[in-house]
Amino acid sequence: MWRLIFFMSLVPTIAAAETFTFALGNPVASQDFRVKTAVFVFRTEGCEPTHARVDAIAEGLVNGVRRSVDVKLAETAKPGVYAVYPVWGPVGDWVVNLRGACDGASAGAVVPMGPSGFIRESARFFPRLASAAEVDAALQALSQGRQK
Protein backbone atom coordinates (compact mmCIF):
# COMPACT_ATOMS: atom_id res chain seq x y z
CA MET A 1 0.00 0.00 0.00
CA TRP A 2 2.74 2.45 1.00
CA ARG A 3 4.65 1.53 -2.13
CA LEU A 4 1.60 2.36 -4.22
CA ILE A 5 1.17 5.72 -2.49
CA PHE A 6 4.86 6.50 -3.01
CA PHE A 7 4.64 5.57 -6.69
CA MET A 8 1.46 7.62 -7.17
CA SER A 9 3.17 10.63 -5.59
CA LEU A 10 5.92 10.37 -8.19
CA VAL A 11 3.58 10.28 -11.17
CA PRO A 12 3.04 14.06 -11.44
CA THR A 13 6.78 14.63 -11.14
CA ILE A 14 7.55 12.08 -13.83
CA ALA A 15 4.84 13.50 -16.07
CA ALA A 16 6.05 17.06 -15.58
CA ALA A 17 9.69 16.25 -16.26
CA GLU A 18 10.61 17.20 -19.78
CA THR A 19 12.51 14.73 -21.88
CA PHE A 20 15.95 15.87 -22.88
CA THR A 21 15.83 16.52 -26.62
CA PHE A 22 16.72 18.96 -29.40
CA ALA A 23 14.60 21.53 -31.23
CA LEU A 24 15.65 22.68 -34.69
CA GLY A 25 15.10 26.05 -36.28
CA ASN A 26 16.14 28.42 -38.99
CA PRO A 27 18.89 30.84 -37.98
CA VAL A 28 16.34 33.57 -37.24
CA ALA A 29 15.07 31.49 -34.31
CA SER A 30 18.28 32.19 -32.43
CA GLN A 31 17.55 35.96 -32.51
CA ASP A 32 21.29 36.36 -33.07
CA PHE A 33 22.20 38.23 -36.24
CA ARG A 34 25.72 36.82 -36.22
CA VAL A 35 24.58 33.34 -37.18
CA LYS A 36 22.40 34.32 -40.10
CA THR A 37 24.54 32.30 -42.50
CA ALA A 38 24.24 29.09 -40.47
CA VAL A 39 22.45 26.21 -42.16
CA PHE A 40 20.32 25.74 -39.05
CA VAL A 41 20.30 26.34 -35.33
CA PHE A 42 19.22 24.02 -32.54
CA ARG A 43 18.59 24.23 -28.84
CA THR A 44 18.48 21.74 -26.03
CA GLU A 45 15.16 21.18 -24.30
CA GLY A 46 14.39 19.46 -21.02
CA CYS A 47 17.82 20.27 -19.65
CA GLU A 48 19.52 23.13 -17.91
CA PRO A 49 21.57 24.60 -20.78
CA THR A 50 24.72 24.80 -18.70
CA HIS A 51 24.49 21.07 -17.93
CA ALA A 52 24.23 19.96 -21.55
CA ARG A 53 27.15 18.72 -23.59
CA VAL A 54 26.51 18.62 -27.31
CA ASP A 55 28.45 17.85 -30.46
CA ALA A 56 27.68 17.12 -34.08
CA ILE A 57 29.08 15.07 -36.92
CA ALA A 58 28.26 15.51 -40.58
CA GLU A 59 27.76 12.09 -42.12
CA GLY A 60 27.84 11.86 -45.89
CA LEU A 61 27.51 9.51 -48.77
CA VAL A 62 29.65 10.87 -51.59
CA ASN A 63 29.79 8.86 -54.80
CA GLY A 64 28.92 5.75 -52.81
CA VAL A 65 31.63 6.36 -50.21
CA ARG A 66 30.75 7.07 -46.55
CA ARG A 67 32.33 10.21 -45.11
CA SER A 68 32.32 11.69 -41.59
CA VAL A 69 33.31 15.27 -40.77
CA ASP A 70 33.33 16.88 -37.34
CA VAL A 71 31.06 19.92 -37.12
CA LYS A 72 32.24 22.81 -35.02
CA LEU A 73 29.18 24.21 -33.24
CA ALA A 74 28.90 27.94 -32.80
CA GLU A 75 27.39 29.17 -29.56
CA THR A 76 24.86 31.94 -29.98
CA ALA A 77 23.95 34.76 -27.66
CA LYS A 78 21.39 32.51 -25.95
CA PRO A 79 22.58 29.71 -23.67
CA GLY A 80 21.75 26.29 -25.04
CA VAL A 81 21.31 27.54 -28.61
CA TYR A 82 23.90 26.52 -31.19
CA ALA A 83 24.45 27.20 -34.87
CA VAL A 84 25.56 24.64 -37.43
CA TYR A 85 27.55 25.76 -40.43
CA PRO A 86 28.10 23.53 -43.42
CA VAL A 87 31.46 21.77 -43.39
CA TRP A 88 30.44 19.47 -46.21
CA GLY A 89 30.69 20.08 -49.92
CA PRO A 90 27.94 20.34 -52.50
CA VAL A 91 28.48 16.80 -53.73
CA GLY A 92 26.72 13.80 -52.20
CA ASP A 93 24.05 13.36 -49.54
CA TRP A 94 24.62 14.57 -46.02
CA VAL A 95 22.94 14.41 -42.64
CA VAL A 96 24.01 16.07 -39.40
CA ASN A 97 24.09 13.75 -36.43
CA LEU A 98 23.45 15.78 -33.26
CA ARG A 99 24.48 14.17 -29.99
CA GLY A 100 23.82 15.40 -26.49
CA ALA A 101 24.18 14.42 -22.87
CA CYS A 102 22.65 16.08 -19.84
CA ASP A 103 22.54 14.91 -16.23
CA GLY A 104 22.72 11.26 -17.19
CA ALA A 105 20.25 11.53 -20.06
CA SER A 106 21.14 11.35 -23.74
CA ALA A 107 19.54 12.75 -26.85
CA GLY A 108 20.18 12.44 -30.55
CA ALA A 109 18.87 13.83 -33.79
CA VAL A 110 19.61 13.10 -37.42
CA VAL A 111 18.99 16.11 -39.61
CA PRO A 112 19.00 15.64 -43.39
CA MET A 113 20.41 18.41 -45.56
CA GLY A 114 18.70 19.48 -48.77
CA PRO A 115 19.82 21.80 -51.54
CA SER A 116 18.29 24.79 -49.76
CA GLY A 117 18.94 24.01 -46.12
CA PHE A 118 17.92 21.44 -43.60
CA ILE A 119 14.85 19.28 -44.18
CA ARG A 120 12.83 19.80 -41.04
CA GLU A 121 10.11 17.33 -41.91
CA SER A 122 12.58 14.46 -42.33
CA ALA A 123 14.58 15.06 -39.17
CA ARG A 124 14.45 12.21 -36.65
CA PHE A 125 14.81 12.57 -32.89
CA PHE A 126 15.90 9.95 -30.38
CA PRO A 127 15.92 9.79 -26.55
CA ARG A 128 19.49 8.47 -26.94
CA LEU A 129 22.30 8.82 -29.44
CA ALA A 130 21.39 7.76 -32.96
CA SER A 131 22.89 4.43 -33.92
CA ALA A 132 25.15 3.97 -36.96
CA ALA A 133 22.34 2.03 -38.61
CA GLU A 134 19.91 4.92 -38.08
CA VAL A 135 22.37 7.37 -39.60
CA ASP A 136 22.92 5.08 -42.58
CA ALA A 137 19.18 4.66 -43.01
CA ALA A 138 18.72 8.44 -43.04
CA LEU A 139 21.43 8.77 -45.68
CA GLN A 140 19.87 6.03 -47.78
CA ALA A 141 16.45 7.66 -47.53
CA LEU A 142 17.93 10.99 -48.55
CA SER A 143 19.73 9.46 -51.48
CA GLN A 144 16.63 7.59 -52.65
CA GLY A 145 14.47 10.72 -52.23
CA ARG A 146 16.86 12.69 -54.40
CA GLN A 147 16.91 10.05 -57.11
CA LYS A 148 13.10 9.96 -57.36
Partner: protein, 356 residues
Amino acid sequence: MKTLFSRHVSSKLLPLIDGELSPREAQQVQAHLTTCTRCRVDYEKVRSAIAALDELQTAHAPDSIWAAIEAAHTPQTAPASVGSFRWAYGFAAAVAVILVAAVVWHFAGRTDARWEVRRIEGSPAIAARHIGDVASARAGEWIETDSASRAAVQVGNIGSVELSPNTRLRIVTARADEHRLALARGEIRASISAPPRLFFVDTPAGTAIDLGCEYVLNSDEEGNGLLRVTRGWVAFEWKGIESLVPAGASCPMRSRSVPGIPYFDDASDRLKQALADFLSGNVKGNPLDVVLSESRTRDTLTLWHLLSRVDPGGRERVYDRMAALAGVPAGVSREAVLRLDTETLARWREELAWKW
Protein backbone atom coordinates in the same frame (compact mmCIF):
# COMPACT_ATOMS: atom_id res chain seq x y z
CA MET B 1 65.18 74.95 -53.95
CA LYS B 2 61.82 74.57 -52.26
CA THR B 3 59.87 77.76 -52.02
CA LEU B 4 57.41 78.42 -49.26
CA PHE B 5 54.48 77.64 -51.53
CA SER B 6 55.78 74.36 -52.82
CA ARG B 7 55.20 73.19 -49.23
CA HIS B 8 51.78 72.58 -47.73
CA VAL B 9 49.87 75.68 -46.73
CA SER B 10 47.62 74.45 -43.94
CA SER B 11 48.59 77.28 -41.61
CA LYS B 12 47.58 79.85 -44.23
CA LEU B 13 44.11 78.50 -44.90
CA LEU B 14 42.23 80.24 -42.10
CA PRO B 15 43.84 83.64 -42.83
CA LEU B 16 43.05 83.10 -46.50
CA ILE B 17 39.37 82.48 -45.80
CA ASP B 18 39.26 85.42 -43.36
CA GLY B 19 40.89 87.70 -45.97
CA GLU B 20 43.86 88.38 -43.76
CA LEU B 21 46.56 87.49 -46.29
CA SER B 22 48.19 90.07 -48.52
CA PRO B 23 47.03 89.88 -52.15
CA ARG B 24 50.37 88.32 -53.15
CA GLU B 25 50.27 85.68 -50.41
CA ALA B 26 46.64 84.92 -51.15
CA GLN B 27 47.49 84.42 -54.81
CA GLN B 28 50.36 82.08 -53.93
CA VAL B 29 48.20 80.00 -51.55
CA GLN B 30 45.45 79.74 -54.14
CA ALA B 31 47.99 78.67 -56.76
CA HIS B 32 49.21 75.96 -54.40
CA LEU B 33 45.64 74.79 -53.77
CA THR B 34 45.13 74.13 -57.46
CA THR B 35 47.93 71.57 -57.43
CA CYS B 36 47.87 70.08 -53.92
CA THR B 37 45.07 67.63 -53.09
CA ARG B 38 45.94 67.43 -49.42
CA CYS B 39 45.74 71.17 -48.91
CA ARG B 40 42.53 71.33 -50.91
CA VAL B 41 41.00 68.75 -48.55
CA ASP B 42 42.24 70.78 -45.57
CA TYR B 43 40.83 73.92 -47.14
CA GLU B 44 37.40 72.26 -47.51
CA LYS B 45 37.52 71.09 -43.90
CA VAL B 46 38.30 74.55 -42.59
CA ARG B 47 35.66 76.12 -44.78
CA SER B 48 33.06 73.55 -43.63
CA ALA B 49 33.93 74.14 -40.00
CA ILE B 50 33.47 77.88 -40.37
CA ALA B 51 30.21 77.36 -42.21
CA ALA B 52 29.04 75.08 -39.42
CA LEU B 53 29.89 77.67 -36.80
CA ASP B 54 28.03 80.29 -38.82
CA GLU B 55 24.96 78.06 -38.77
CA LEU B 56 24.88 77.90 -34.99
CA GLN B 57 22.09 80.05 -33.66
CA THR B 58 22.78 82.76 -31.16
CA ALA B 59 21.34 81.97 -27.78
CA HIS B 60 20.52 84.84 -25.48
CA ALA B 61 21.68 84.42 -21.95
CA PRO B 62 19.07 85.07 -19.27
CA ASP B 63 19.17 88.54 -17.76
CA SER B 64 20.10 87.09 -14.42
CA ILE B 65 23.51 86.10 -15.75
CA TRP B 66 24.48 89.77 -16.21
CA ALA B 67 23.50 90.59 -12.67
CA ALA B 68 25.63 87.72 -11.50
CA ILE B 69 28.60 88.80 -13.62
CA GLU B 70 28.31 92.42 -12.44
CA ALA B 71 28.08 91.23 -8.89
CA ALA B 72 31.19 89.17 -9.40
CA HIS B 73 33.10 92.25 -10.58
CA THR B 74 31.91 94.43 -7.71
CA PRO B 75 34.50 94.51 -4.87
CA GLN B 76 31.88 94.79 -2.15
CA THR B 77 30.10 91.71 -3.37
CA ALA B 78 28.23 90.18 -0.52
CA PRO B 79 29.02 86.59 0.36
CA ALA B 80 25.49 85.70 -0.66
CA SER B 81 26.32 86.58 -4.30
CA VAL B 82 29.16 84.07 -4.45
CA GLY B 83 26.53 81.47 -5.11
CA SER B 84 25.17 83.55 -7.98
CA PHE B 85 28.66 83.96 -9.40
CA ARG B 86 29.19 80.23 -9.19
CA TRP B 87 25.87 79.72 -10.86
CA ALA B 88 26.80 82.16 -13.63
CA TYR B 89 30.18 80.52 -14.02
CA GLY B 90 28.46 77.18 -14.20
CA PHE B 91 25.98 78.49 -16.71
CA ALA B 92 28.74 79.92 -18.89
CA ALA B 93 30.60 76.62 -18.69
CA ALA B 94 27.42 74.77 -19.62
CA VAL B 95 26.87 77.07 -22.60
CA ALA B 96 30.45 76.44 -23.69
CA VAL B 97 29.96 72.70 -23.37
CA ILE B 98 26.74 72.88 -25.35
CA LEU B 99 28.46 74.92 -28.06
CA VAL B 100 31.31 72.45 -28.30
CA ALA B 101 28.84 69.56 -28.28
CA ALA B 102 26.83 71.26 -31.01
CA VAL B 103 29.93 71.63 -33.18
CA VAL B 104 30.99 68.03 -32.50
CA TRP B 105 27.44 66.82 -33.18
CA HIS B 106 27.29 68.87 -36.33
CA PHE B 107 30.50 67.39 -37.66
CA ALA B 108 29.71 63.88 -36.46
CA GLY B 109 26.39 64.24 -38.20
CA ARG B 110 27.96 65.41 -41.41
CA THR B 111 27.84 62.79 -44.04
CA ASP B 112 31.08 63.42 -45.81
CA ALA B 113 31.93 59.74 -46.14
CA ARG B 114 31.98 58.59 -49.71
CA TRP B 115 30.81 55.14 -50.67
CA GLU B 116 32.32 53.31 -53.57
CA VAL B 117 30.02 52.72 -56.51
CA ARG B 118 31.04 50.05 -58.97
CA ARG B 119 29.61 49.65 -62.43
CA ILE B 120 28.39 46.12 -63.08
CA GLU B 121 26.82 46.67 -66.45
CA GLY B 122 25.89 49.53 -68.80
CA SER B 123 26.46 53.09 -67.65
CA PRO B 124 25.07 53.92 -64.22
CA ALA B 125 25.13 57.54 -63.10
CA ILE B 126 25.87 59.42 -59.91
CA ALA B 127 24.27 62.84 -59.62
CA ALA B 128 23.22 62.53 -63.29
CA ARG B 129 26.82 62.00 -64.44
CA HIS B 130 27.71 58.66 -65.97
CA ILE B 131 30.49 56.86 -64.17
CA GLY B 132 33.37 54.66 -65.26
CA ASP B 133 34.08 51.30 -63.68
CA VAL B 134 34.45 52.73 -60.19
CA ALA B 135 33.36 56.02 -58.66
CA SER B 136 32.15 57.24 -55.31
CA ALA B 137 29.03 58.90 -54.01
CA ARG B 138 28.24 60.74 -50.83
CA ALA B 139 25.16 61.62 -48.83
CA GLY B 140 22.62 63.55 -50.85
CA GLU B 141 23.67 62.13 -54.19
CA TRP B 142 21.45 59.99 -56.39
CA ILE B 143 22.69 56.81 -57.98
CA GLU B 144 20.71 55.78 -61.01
CA THR B 145 20.62 52.91 -63.45
CA ASP B 146 18.81 52.86 -66.76
CA SER B 147 17.20 49.89 -68.44
CA ALA B 148 20.59 48.48 -69.47
CA SER B 149 22.74 49.17 -66.45
CA ARG B 150 23.43 47.80 -63.01
CA ALA B 151 25.67 49.02 -60.22
CA ALA B 152 26.87 48.02 -56.76
CA VAL B 153 27.31 50.37 -53.81
CA GLN B 154 29.70 49.54 -51.01
CA VAL B 155 27.81 50.53 -47.85
CA GLY B 156 30.58 51.78 -45.57
CA ASN B 157 32.20 48.64 -44.23
CA ILE B 158 29.01 46.76 -43.40
CA GLY B 159 27.96 45.38 -46.76
CA SER B 160 26.81 46.17 -50.23
CA VAL B 161 23.74 47.02 -52.24
CA GLU B 162 23.24 46.07 -55.86
CA LEU B 163 21.01 48.19 -58.05
CA SER B 164 18.98 46.45 -60.75
CA PRO B 165 18.14 48.25 -64.00
CA ASN B 166 15.79 51.25 -63.83
CA THR B 167 16.60 51.99 -60.22
CA ARG B 168 16.94 55.34 -58.54
CA LEU B 169 18.59 55.34 -55.14
CA ARG B 170 19.85 58.15 -52.92
CA ILE B 171 22.40 58.02 -50.13
CA VAL B 172 20.68 59.76 -47.24
CA THR B 173 23.12 59.17 -44.40
CA ALA B 174 26.60 57.70 -44.57
CA ARG B 175 27.69 57.52 -40.96
CA ALA B 176 29.14 54.68 -38.95
CA ASP B 177 26.08 54.69 -36.71
CA GLU B 178 23.52 55.07 -39.47
CA HIS B 179 23.66 53.92 -43.06
CA ARG B 180 20.50 55.10 -44.77
CA LEU B 181 19.40 54.93 -48.37
CA ALA B 182 16.22 56.07 -50.07
CA LEU B 183 14.80 53.93 -52.85
CA ALA B 184 12.70 56.12 -55.12
CA ARG B 185 11.99 53.31 -57.56
CA GLY B 186 13.42 50.09 -58.92
CA GLU B 187 15.01 47.16 -57.15
CA ILE B 188 17.94 46.70 -54.82
CA ARG B 189 19.60 43.60 -53.42
CA ALA B 190 21.14 44.29 -50.01
CA SER B 191 23.70 42.12 -48.28
CA ILE B 192 24.54 43.48 -44.86
CA SER B 193 26.69 42.13 -42.09
CA ALA B 194 26.23 44.39 -39.11
CA PRO B 195 24.42 44.57 -35.80
CA PRO B 196 20.70 45.23 -36.17
CA ARG B 197 19.38 48.72 -36.92
CA LEU B 198 22.44 50.18 -38.57
CA PHE B 199 21.19 49.97 -42.13
CA PHE B 200 17.92 51.47 -43.36
CA VAL B 201 16.23 51.84 -46.71
CA ASP B 202 13.44 54.40 -46.96
CA THR B 203 10.75 53.86 -49.56
CA PRO B 204 7.59 55.85 -50.23
CA ALA B 205 5.71 53.12 -48.32
CA GLY B 206 7.92 52.89 -45.25
CA THR B 207 11.38 51.93 -44.08
CA ALA B 208 13.16 48.58 -44.31
CA ILE B 209 15.26 48.16 -41.19
CA ASP B 210 18.09 45.66 -41.27
CA LEU B 211 18.16 43.21 -38.39
CA GLY B 212 21.11 41.30 -39.85
CA CYS B 213 20.14 40.18 -43.30
CA GLU B 214 20.16 39.84 -47.04
CA TYR B 215 17.12 40.89 -49.00
CA VAL B 216 15.64 42.12 -52.24
CA LEU B 217 13.46 45.19 -52.17
CA ASN B 218 11.53 46.58 -55.09
CA SER B 219 9.27 49.54 -55.23
CA ASP B 220 7.49 51.65 -57.80
CA GLU B 221 7.41 55.42 -57.47
CA GLU B 222 4.23 55.22 -55.40
CA GLY B 223 5.78 52.81 -52.93
CA ASN B 224 3.99 49.65 -54.03
CA GLY B 225 6.39 46.75 -54.05
CA LEU B 226 7.73 43.70 -52.31
CA LEU B 227 10.38 42.95 -49.71
CA ARG B 228 11.82 39.44 -50.03
CA VAL B 229 14.27 38.28 -47.38
CA THR B 230 16.84 35.59 -48.16
CA ARG B 231 18.86 35.61 -44.92
CA GLY B 232 18.24 36.88 -41.41
CA TRP B 233 15.46 39.30 -40.53
CA VAL B 234 14.18 42.61 -41.83
CA ALA B 235 11.66 44.86 -40.15
CA PHE B 236 9.46 46.97 -42.39
CA GLU B 237 8.08 49.95 -40.56
CA TRP B 238 5.50 52.59 -41.36
CA LYS B 239 4.28 55.11 -38.78
CA GLY B 240 5.18 52.85 -35.86
CA ILE B 241 3.53 49.77 -37.34
CA GLU B 242 6.09 47.08 -38.00
CA SER B 243 6.15 43.85 -39.97
CA LEU B 244 8.95 41.40 -39.19
CA VAL B 245 10.10 39.41 -42.17
CA PRO B 246 12.41 36.41 -41.69
CA ALA B 247 14.45 34.57 -44.31
CA GLY B 248 12.29 32.73 -46.80
CA ALA B 249 9.42 35.17 -46.42
CA SER B 250 8.15 38.21 -48.29
CA CYS B 251 6.17 41.23 -47.32
CA PRO B 252 4.13 43.36 -49.71
CA MET B 253 4.52 47.12 -49.42
CA ARG B 254 1.62 49.36 -50.17
CA SER B 255 1.62 53.03 -50.93
CA ARG B 256 0.40 55.24 -48.07
CA SER B 257 -0.81 52.28 -46.08
CA VAL B 258 0.16 49.99 -43.23
CA PRO B 259 2.84 47.46 -44.17
CA GLY B 260 1.61 44.25 -45.69
CA ILE B 261 1.53 41.00 -43.76
CA PRO B 262 4.54 38.74 -44.31
CA TYR B 263 4.09 35.24 -45.68
CA PHE B 264 6.48 32.44 -46.44
CA ASP B 265 7.26 32.14 -50.11
CA ASP B 266 6.28 28.47 -50.04
CA ALA B 267 2.83 29.21 -48.60
CA SER B 268 -0.10 28.16 -50.77
CA ASP B 269 -1.28 30.47 -53.52
CA ARG B 270 -4.73 30.42 -51.96
CA LEU B 271 -3.33 31.76 -48.71
CA LYS B 272 -1.40 34.51 -50.49
CA GLN B 273 -4.44 35.55 -52.53
CA ALA B 274 -6.70 35.51 -49.49
CA LEU B 275 -4.18 37.63 -47.61
CA ALA B 276 -4.11 40.16 -50.43
CA ASP B 277 -7.91 40.25 -50.48
CA PHE B 278 -8.05 40.69 -46.73
CA LEU B 279 -5.62 43.61 -46.81
CA SER B 280 -7.43 45.31 -49.66
CA GLY B 281 -10.72 45.04 -47.79
CA ASN B 282 -12.20 42.62 -50.27
CA VAL B 283 -14.26 40.42 -47.95
CA LYS B 284 -15.90 38.45 -50.74
CA GLY B 285 -15.02 34.81 -50.24
CA ASN B 286 -14.23 35.27 -46.53
CA PRO B 287 -10.49 35.72 -46.92
CA LEU B 288 -9.81 35.27 -43.18
CA ASP B 289 -11.45 31.84 -43.31
CA VAL B 290 -9.21 30.88 -46.20
CA VAL B 291 -6.05 32.16 -44.50
CA LEU B 292 -6.88 30.20 -41.35
CA SER B 293 -7.69 26.98 -43.15
CA GLU B 294 -4.69 27.19 -45.49
CA SER B 295 -2.15 27.90 -42.74
CA ARG B 296 0.53 25.36 -41.91
CA THR B 297 2.60 25.45 -38.73
CA ARG B 298 5.19 27.80 -40.20
CA ASP B 299 2.43 30.11 -41.47
CA THR B 300 2.00 31.15 -37.86
CA LEU B 301 4.33 33.90 -39.08
CA THR B 302 1.40 35.29 -41.05
CA LEU B 303 -1.12 34.57 -38.29
CA TRP B 304 1.04 36.25 -35.66
CA HIS B 305 1.00 39.45 -37.73
CA LEU B 306 -2.73 39.09 -38.33
CA LEU B 307 -3.44 39.14 -34.59
CA SER B 308 -3.05 42.88 -34.44
CA ARG B 309 -4.75 43.56 -37.77
CA VAL B 310 -8.11 41.89 -37.23
CA ASP B 311 -11.13 42.83 -35.14
CA PRO B 312 -11.52 41.24 -31.67
CA GLY B 313 -13.75 38.46 -33.00
CA GLY B 314 -11.27 37.62 -35.72
CA ARG B 315 -8.42 37.77 -33.21
CA GLU B 316 -9.95 34.98 -31.16
CA ARG B 317 -10.18 32.81 -34.27
CA VAL B 318 -6.60 33.59 -35.24
CA TYR B 319 -5.41 32.79 -31.73
CA ASP B 320 -7.24 29.47 -31.69
CA ARG B 321 -5.76 28.49 -35.02
CA MET B 322 -2.25 29.41 -33.89
CA ALA B 323 -2.68 27.48 -30.66
CA ALA B 324 -3.87 24.44 -32.61
CA LEU B 325 -0.98 24.62 -35.07
CA ALA B 326 1.93 25.45 -32.80
CA GLY B 327 0.79 25.22 -29.20
CA VAL B 328 1.02 27.97 -26.64
CA PRO B 329 4.28 28.25 -24.71
CA ALA B 330 4.64 28.98 -21.03
CA GLY B 331 4.29 32.66 -20.30
CA VAL B 332 1.75 33.24 -23.05
CA SER B 333 -1.92 33.43 -22.11
CA ARG B 334 -4.95 33.74 -24.34
CA GLU B 335 -6.17 36.76 -22.40
CA ALA B 336 -2.86 38.61 -22.82
CA VAL B 337 -2.70 37.81 -26.52
CA LEU B 338 -6.27 38.96 -27.11
CA ARG B 339 -5.53 42.30 -25.52
CA LEU B 340 -2.37 42.50 -27.67
CA ASP B 341 0.03 42.68 -24.75
CA THR B 342 3.33 43.63 -26.36
CA GLU B 343 5.59 41.48 -24.19
CA THR B 344 3.36 38.45 -24.56
CA LEU B 345 3.26 38.81 -28.31
CA ALA B 346 7.05 39.15 -28.44
CA ARG B 347 7.46 36.09 -26.23
CA TRP B 348 5.18 34.04 -28.46
CA ARG B 349 6.90 35.25 -31.63
CA GLU B 350 10.28 34.28 -30.22
CA GLU B 351 8.98 30.77 -29.58
CA LEU B 352 7.16 30.51 -32.90
CA ALA B 353 10.35 31.45 -34.73
CA TRP B 354 11.60 27.94 -33.96
CA LYS B 355 8.93 26.63 -36.29
CA TRP B 356 9.49 29.19 -39.08
